[in-house]
């Protein structure tokens, strides 16, 4: 803020400057207002980190168990092959990156992200090949190392701000990683055992599993909001999906029918949202909230009157078992995390890819995004705005409904009151954090899933922090993420505004 009240740094009253201020110059010629948000935010977190990981550090060591292979031979083969593939991918992407840089062309957006992913896979495969089973680290020494690193990064961010330069994106990312490492070490070393340890593989696998409903919910949000309809009713769609999956699967005795019925139930919730908000122009947020309350009440009522009276015939759906994907599931570390999922889990991967490709690389997606950005423009080129919105809201509901079936067909094998537990709202946050992009929403949901799982694991091993405080973690993270510490995001321009022709 202080930068704004200073007198303008450049005083060039000559009129000749105006001619030079052409299109490019207009951008570059201004001295930007550099926000202190990044510097101050990182500084506070760094101080918090130093106090926790440094001054409050434990003398115990922290252990991280890594591989628990079921079949060592298959696992070893898979590890070598993964290592080779990851190496080739890293080399190729790295080559593309460097050659683009050298030719002065812009680096495609996907290249840095893919490089990071390839390097991570490479590292994990290397751990698998080396058959590392457990890493034990001294918490005091590493805690201090992390603290110093955090302080240095925060200091650099402040330095950049003083220099009136923007804080680059990688700085925030690096800070987050260091903070996470320090936090993990500190929290594990605080366990009850003399040599406390946690299973890293289990932590990650649990994170992916817990993220499943969040991912479906956030994809539902992306589909609706990209077309310009705010979908607050994700919570209700998840809940009704869970309920109908449980009941239909029990009655028909077939979990797959239950899964389909969940999609139908979600779409049904969407149908109400679409009709009331698109056709009758009622405020979309109010409709969404009302739907959530309505469905919570409806399912609770049916649960306590019908389902508890006869659980045998109404609320015993059976489970969708986890399916191993041959070969991929044998890859150490990665396999158990990603490729030992239930059908719903695999549907999640497919849904993320389909929605992403659909939105950004097809005719349908171009039209959907146009409708969400500037419906009148879409109308004038012959696109039916309200029909597009209607279809998208229905599809979003179906996707969220499938996410809801996770609760009753995968996670727990029975319906219970309000079992979605506010995850619809977290999914909404994941969508915003992921900047209305399916991949971004997926990653954000994974992060929230991780926080959720970390919280329960820490409660099990015992930690210096009260468990109630740890239970706050996913939500605290949501607030920080959505409050925009990570950067500004721009929603679709016509998001939430009904389209009236003429």
């Amino acid at each position: 803020m202080s930068a704004t009240t200073q007198s303008p740094a450049s005083k060039q009253p000559d009129a000749g400057k105006a001619t030079r201020a052409d299109r490019a110059g207009g951008q570059a010629g201004t001295t930007g207002l550099v926000s202190w948000k990044a510097g101050v935010g990182l500084g506070l977190l760094a101080i918090l980190g130093t106090v926790l990981f440094g001054f409050l550090a434990n003398t115990k060591s922290a252990g991280f168990r890594i591989a628990e292979a079921r079949d060592p031979n298959a696992s070893s083969t898979a590890a070598w092959i993964t290592l080779a593939v990851a190496l080739a991918a890293t080399a190729y992407v790295g080559y593309r990156w460097i050659s683009h840089r050298r030719e002065g062309r812009g680096v495609d957006r996907w290249i840095p992200a893919t490089t990071i992913a390839a390097v991570v896979v490479l590292g994990l495969a290397a751990l698998g090949v080396a058959r590392v089973e457990k890493i034990t680290v001294p918490s005091m020494a590493l805690g201090w190392t992390c603290s110093v690193l955090l302080l240095a990064l925060a200091g650099y961010a402040c330095f950049l701000t003083v220099q009136r330069r923007r804080t680059p994106g990688w700085l925030g990312g690096l800070f987050a990683v260091v903070f996470l490492v320090g936090f993990m070490i500190w929290i594990v070393a605080g366990g009850r055992d003399p040599e406390p340890s946690i299973s890293l593989g289990g932590l990650m696998a649990g994170a992916v599993t817990l993220a499943v409903p969040l991912v479906f919910g956030s994809l539902s949000g992306v589909l609706c909001e990209r077309a310009g309809v705010v979908n607050i009713a994700i919570e209700g769609q998840l809940l009704l999906g869970a309920f109908s999956a449980a009941v239909v699967a029990t009655v028909t005795g077939n979990v797959y029918v239950g899964l389909i019925s969940a999609a139908v139930a979600g779409a049904l919730v969407s149908l109400v949202l679409a009709v009331v908000s698109i056709k009758y122009l009622v405020n979309q947020i109010i409709v969404g909230v009302v739907l959530n309350v309505l469905i919570s009440g409806l399912t609770s009522f049916l649960f306590s009157t019908l389902l508890t009276a006869d659980p045998e015939h109404l609320n015993k759906p059976g489970r969708l078992q986890a399916v191993d994907i041959p070969f991929l599931a044998d890859i150490p570390i990665i396999g158990p995390i990603l490729f030992r999922q239930s059908l719903v889990g695999y549907l999640m991967y497919i849904a993320v890819i389909v929605v992403y490709v659909g939105l950004f690389h097809t005719k349908w997606g171009l039209r959907v995004r146009a409708v969400g950005e500037h419906p009148q423009a879409a109308d004038t080129v012959g696109i039916n705005v309200n029909r597009t919105r209607f279809i998208n809201v229905l599809m979003g509901g179906a996707i969220a409904g499938i996410g809801g079936s996770f609760f009753t067909l995968v996670s727990v094998d029975a319906f219970s009151k309000d079992m979605s537990g506010g995850r619809g709202y977290i999914a909404l946050a994941a969508m915003i954090f992921g900047r209305w992009n399916p991949i971004g929403a997926f990653l954000a949901a994974l992060l929230f899933g991780f926080a959720d799982n970390l919280q329960s694991i820490i409660t099990i091993i015992g930690s210096p922090v009260p468990s109630q405080f740890m239970a706050m973690l996913p939500y605290a993270l949501t607030v920080i993420a959505v409050a925009g510490l990570v950067g500004r995001s721009r929603p679709p321009a016509a998001d939430g505004i009904p389209y009236v022709k003429g």
Binding site: T4, T5, Q6, S7, P8, K11, Q12, P13, A15, G16, K17, A18, T19, A21, D22, R23, G26, Q27, T30, T31, G32, L33, V34, V357, H361, T362, K363, W364, G365, L366, R367, R369, A370, E373, H374, Q376, A377, A378, D379, T380, V381, G382, I383, N384, R490, A493, K501, G502
Partner: protein, 559 residues
């Protein structure tokens, strides 16, 4: 897109493409509107309008704001259903249920507010609704880019298919709109008030593009209320007043004749005003800089003075810092540096209430958004600034009687046409709304009067009235600042003209400066250079390629 009528579309296309590069192609599509009526509730926007657009012609629709020109074109383009009447293409009746069908029939439209998606690239915008796809519905933007390049080369548009639309200047965005229509093989191109957002130079370029399109056999429907352009470009002029066709006019008719036909009574296009009786300088702006939330300097180091009894007009294309400048003076902009003094008192950093109390009268550019509370009555809107002061209030109570009496007096004085002072202000016409704003702002003793776009969207009669009041305030000895994007208005009102470009002051020039010079200055060329350029052009020294022919000098050579 399925066509809702039996129409041999491919035949027409073949005819059009038979000889695409002879620049004397005969037009191919004849468009007729017969008895088109469009009602919105009790309001009749179009009343039995007949119109024939001959192939290869530039047909102008001339009419005031609100005469029903845009409504008519929206009916033609399938955005509105006509209440009565029919549309004929090449003599066959057609019904357009949506714009897609109108496009398929060869009708393209460039709207007054561009229908472009700012966060899409040019190629994406052009492809939208008319996508070329590979297998499985995947977009093939390369094909669209190729089409854009081809059209761009043919007409010399210079448009980069991969540029983001939001980064492009308005003139280029307009070309993207034209490309959008051409890619869809439009034979009739409707241009709705295309010059409203352009500088005079960009306007000349646009007119040149229109001539080129005409040579290629396209028909153009050119909607405007600007007489000079209409005279320069049209083959046929149809004048529309209050939703009715009042007649055809000849392009060679004098501007006064056209204006009279448009308004329905004789009008004087010039404003009689006495020379300025300039007093001491009381309003001074020094090094004023406004920074927006992105850190851009939207007003950059402005310094100027206004003396008592003088009108300073701020000219410039819309969006070059005018809004921010007026808002900074009023005190509603957050990041402002520099100094603004009125009679020696610093206004910068003071509250809006204090600034108004210091004697600043302000007519905002958007009267419905910033000037009035639409659902409040006329009497209430008349005292929005003085509601808490005597005689309108005593203690915490208000005095409805006094307020109504005040309103009745003002309505009389400013000729506001309303059934009652207790009518909601939102029900009035634009001109009457603006009179309410003026009545309120001019009712305090003023030491500075600022009017932003004072006549935007008003009819000719109201424009005359507003201009007279502004000059009356000047003659009263108040420093007056007018912000306008209409060069005609600037030239009529100003004693001095300041031109803004990208938030900077290009220069301050005297009232008599020519349009050409001002036009160049509005594109950022400094005053001296613009002067040299314009005079060089007038003597024919520059090649036509560098500065295209200005509207005013255009003969009938192309017609």
């Amino acid at each position: 897109m399925t066509l809702g009528w039996d129409y041999p579309l491919p035949c027409r296309r073949q005819r059009a493409e038979a000889d695409p590069y002879t620049h004397r192609l005969v037009g191919v599509l004849k468009l007729e509107l017969k008895g088109i009526t469009k009602r919105f509730g009790s309001l009749v926007a179009n009343d039995h309008i007949d119109l024939v657009v001959e192939p290869g012609q530039v047909h102008c629709l001339l009419g005031e704001n609100g005469a029903g020109k845009s409504t008519l074109m929206n009916v033609l383009y399938g955005l509105y259903d006509p209440t009565e009447g029919e549309i004929l293409v090449d003599g066959k009746p057609v019904v357009f249920k949506d714009p897609g069908e109108a496009m398929a029939a060869g009708i393209g439209m460039v709207h007054q507010h561009f229908m472009l998606i700012p966060v899409f690239s040019v190629a994406e915008n052009v492809a939208l609704g008319n996508e070329t796809t590979k297998a499985a519905g995947l977009l093939n933007l390369e094909a669209t880019r190729e089409k854009i390049r081809r059209i761009s080369d043919q007409y010399g548009f210079d448009v980069d298919p991969d540029a983001m639309v939001e980064d492009l200047p308005v003139g280029v965005q307009q070309r993207v709109e034209i490309i959008k229509a051409l890619v869809r093989d439009a034979e009739v191109l409707i241009l709705d008030e295309p010059t409203a957002v352009l500088t005079p130079q960009e306007t000349d370029e646009l007119l040149e593009i229109i001539r080129q399109l005409k040579r290629d056999g396209k028909s153009i429907v050119f909607i405007s209320h600007k007489l000079r352009e209409v005279k320069a470009i049209s083959d046929t002029i149809t004048v529309i007043r209050r939703g009715k066709v009042v007649g055809q006019a000849d392009p060679s008719a004098s501007p006064t004749e056209l204006a009279s036909a448009m308004v329905g009574r004789s009008v004087s296009l010039t404003l009689d005003k006495a020379p300025a009786n300039t007093g001491e300088v009381t309003f001074k702006v020094r090094n004023l800089t406004v920074t927006d939330h992105n850190g851009q300097h939207v007003v950059d180091d402005l310094s100027f003075d206004i003396a008592k009894g003088q009108v300073l007009a701020i000219a410039g294309v819309q969006g070059n810092g005018q809004t921010e400048l007026t808002e900074a003076i009023l005190g509603v902009q957050p990041h402002v540096a520099g100094s603004i003094t009125l009679g020696g008192e610093e206004l910068l950093g003071k509250s809006v209430k204090h600034v108004l109390g210091a004697g600043v009268g302000f007519v905002p550019e958007d009267r419905t958004l910033d000037g009035l509370v639409g659902t409040f009555t006329i009497s209430e809107n008349m005292i929005l600034d003085l509601y808490d002061k005597a005689p309108f209030a005593s203690g915490v109570g208000m005095k409805p009687g006094v307020i109504a009496e005040n309103a009745a007096r003002k309505v009389e004085e400013f000729d506001v046409r309303t059934p009652s002072v207790s009518a909601a202000v939102g029900t009035l016409s634009g001109g009457n709304q603006q009179k309410v704003v003026l009545a309120r702002e001019l009712s305090r003793p003023l030491r500075l009067f600022i009017a932003s776009q004072p006549t935007r969207g008003l009819d000719v009669g109201s424009i005359e009235f507003v201009h007279k009041r502004v000059i009356a305030e000047r003659d009263h000895g108040t420093p007056v600042m007018i912000v306008s994007t209409e060069l005609d208005e600037v030239l009529q009102l100003a004693d001095r003209i300041a031109v803004l470009y990208r938030g900077r002051l290009v220069g301050i020039v005297p009232a008599g400066t020519s349009r050409d010079v001002l036009g160049l200055m509005m594109a950022g060329v400094p005053a001296a250079e613009a002067e040299a350029n314009a005079s060089a052009h007038a003597s024919g020294a520059t090649t036509p390629a560098t500065v295209s022919e200005p509207v005013g000098h255009e003969g009938e050579s192309h017609v």
